[in-house]
Symmetry: none
Subunit: 271 residues, 2 copies
């Protein structure tokens, strides 16, 4: 997944740090600068920029965070520091608390996909919302969790459910991002798009072009004695046609395949 295509600027999807229409990511007493940076990177991968830190252990700014952010500057440049969780969430109307443990608290528990859908509804109503993440070793205390409306729990391997901080930020940011585009209609579009191949400098071959190639190959095969016995010929031809129809050839590829058949059978034809 390496390779940021930094000259490929999005037309209108540039995240706006001032827009409240995205979740705030609130890291409560984060310990490792590396984790703060990696969380910033994960956020910006998903076009999020509102990062809030509550009493980071090693102060702020933090060179290790900057290194780990790998260029997610729009996030680091707008980080806000708070002395308490309640100040950090003061402007929010909807708050989620991440947790890998079940709490003795009567709160809804939602997975990231559901939280993302809920937050999209909040966003459309102009609400403000955010997600609390606890310190790496201990997670959120009950005093922090009680400030939230809902618990956010990632459904993971029950025998090994401890996520790295930045991994947790990534999964939730990713679900938020996808929730913006996967309405039923869009999902169908996506599966439609899946069938569209990127054809660099070429074009999907027409049925006639493919057919022309297939007929040519068939003629060569008949001449070479491959499509024998004749009783089996129709099924063998059908199988070959299936292979090449399924490949969804480009015009360039059809020309290449003509060349292949010409070359392979060339000496026989020249005899």
């Amino acid at each position: 997944m390496a390779g940021t295509d930094s000259q490929h600027q999005p037309p209108d999807s540039q995240p706006d740090p001032l827009s409240p229409q995205q979740p705030a990511i609130i890291l409560v007493e984060p310990q490792m600068g590396e984790n703060i940076g990696a969380a910033a990177r994960a956020m910006y991968n998903c076009s999020l920029t509102d990062l809030r830190l509550v009493r980071p252990r090693d102060g702020w700014p933090n060179p290790r965070a900057e290194a780990a952010a790998s260029g997610a500057d729009p996030v680091l440049e707008t980080v806000r520091l708070f002395d308490s969780v309640s100040e950090a969430v003061g402007d929010l109307t909807r708050i989620y608390a991440t947790s890998a443990r079940s709490r003795d608290m009567v709160k809804p528990v939602v997975p990231p996909r559901v939280a993302a859908a809920e937050m999209r509804i909040c966003a459309r109503r102009g609400e403000t919302f955010g997600i609390l993440f606890g310190p790496e070793r201990t997670g959120l205390t009950n005093d922090h969790v009680v400030l939230a409306d809902s618990l956010l729990e990632v459904p993971l391997n029950p025998a090994f459910s401890s996520l790295n901080l930045a991994q947790a930020v990534l999964l939730i940011s990713y679900e938020w991002m996808l929730a913006g585009e996967t309405s039923e209609g869009t999902r169908q579009e996506t599966s439609e798009q899946r069938r569209e191949l990127p054809v660099a400098g070429s074009w999907p071959a027409t049925a006639a072009e493919v057919d022309n190639f297939l007929q040519r190959m068939e003629a060569e095969l008949i001449e070479a004695g491959f499509l024998y016995p004749e009783v089996k010929r129709p099924i063998m031809l059908r199988n070959l046609r299936n292979i090449f129809r399924r490949a969804r050839l480009t015009d360039q590829e059809v020309r290449t395949l003509h060349g292949v058949v010409r070359s392979l059978s060339g000496s026989r034809n020249r005899r």
Copy 2:
């Protein structure tokens, strides 16, 4: 999200390292031990255990990987090492290549959610499948990508789409996991199924079977003088490989294609 509840053993969902019914995660020439370990941790978070390494830069075992895996022992203990990508994928029938860049190759591009639904279908049929991840700095080369059936691309902020290796492994493992339990996943599976190939009496060809055919065809083409001038040979071979990987051949079809090449070139060889 801290706090693994290790005494909380899952009743029946314990991942089975011997089960082929999960995607293989194939890291090609990974550089940092930390990233291998973090990828192993992300896999095990999602109950995956089939980790394959192709020429890891710092050898194997790697103490830094062990530290970063944070206890994902069932993954590290069963790691397999390979000298080449084609060996690492030899037993697989369906292969995805992760990529943040658009390639000049004619291959389907799918997001993780669609890939996960497709792999669930493979799993139900008893197929084997896996995902290729490139080295941290450079990503997969075209020579590696050409071995895959489809490109797997995470839809991210276009201005900042470079994911850390372990983050990429996590997102894909996470989608795989959720696709096994959500009704949303099931709905996508159903629409995928309509596009799945009926393989009456035959079986999807393994990567090794397809590779064997391609090498044979290439040898014939070189002998016939088709792959000339030599400077153009790699790109022509790559294009041919893409065509046949995309067709998702069955074992029976591979045998048919062997016959086609044998017939077409037969007279030349008999001379």
